[in-house]
Symmetry: C2
Subunit: 133 residues, 2 copies
């Protein structure tokens, strides 16, 4: 799913960046499983809408970030939802391999169980085989 | 779903508040529909875990906020997931009436369609009947 540059600009104008980057919740377009949560400035939303690939604002690195640029684990946008306040988006994506840099399909691989944060998912890949040079 | 005070404190210690409040993504425990996105400081997470009712940190009002305190639209916690970085949580909740103050079950009632943010859900209540004094 892609839109043209001018259309993307109009769509982005309806978002509220007054409190900083907006929140992007990313879910699998088929299973609705929540894959990750990240942040987007104006440029990241615009690039995502015009390229059809998820882009984020990295708070730790302080720069625009194309998900998959290092790992190859791109996220293809299939649908986008906007919340009432205009400061959160839900993206429905087709995820390549896995979303989490720790090797899990979803970053939410821990669940409150028996009073602990228990890992309840299996890894899809070994991080050192993907991220090492 | 509730945990004891000391257990909640241990669970909260594994979260990362170094970049500010953590992000709470709230979904319907049955349909997996995403209802809203909000923010939680340490106290909001602890209160949520010990009472079993969603509490948030209101960035606009600058205070702790029990969802439903005005509207009666409480959110009962049925499950909690934690992400890899410890700065985002997914809550599975049983939602009373509706999550959105604009009257929709989900705050994500708009979807990118035909180049516009189009409303695609129906209202569950009329806001002025719930929030007016």
């Amino acid at each position: 799913m892609k839109v043209e540059e001018t259309q993307a600009e109009r769509l982005v104008k309806e978002l509220d960046f007054s409190k900083g980057p907006v929140t992007a919740v990313v879910r699998d377009w088929r299973t609705k499983e929540i894959l990750m949560v990240a942040h987007q400035d104006q440029e990241a939303v615009t690039r995502t809408l015009t390229t059809g690939l998820m882009h984020y604002w990295s708070r730790s690195r302080g720069k625009l970030w194309l998900k998959g640029e290092t790992s190859g684990h791109f996220q293809e946008v299939k649908g986008v939802l906007l919340d009432c306040d205009g400061d959160a988006l839900v993206y429905e994506v087709k995820q390549k391999t896995a979303a989490c840099h720790k090797g899990y399909y979803s970053c939410f691989f821990r669940r409150l169980r028996g009073g602990k944060w228990a890992v309840f998912r299996k890894k899809r890949f070994e991080p050192q085989q993907v991220y090492s040079p």
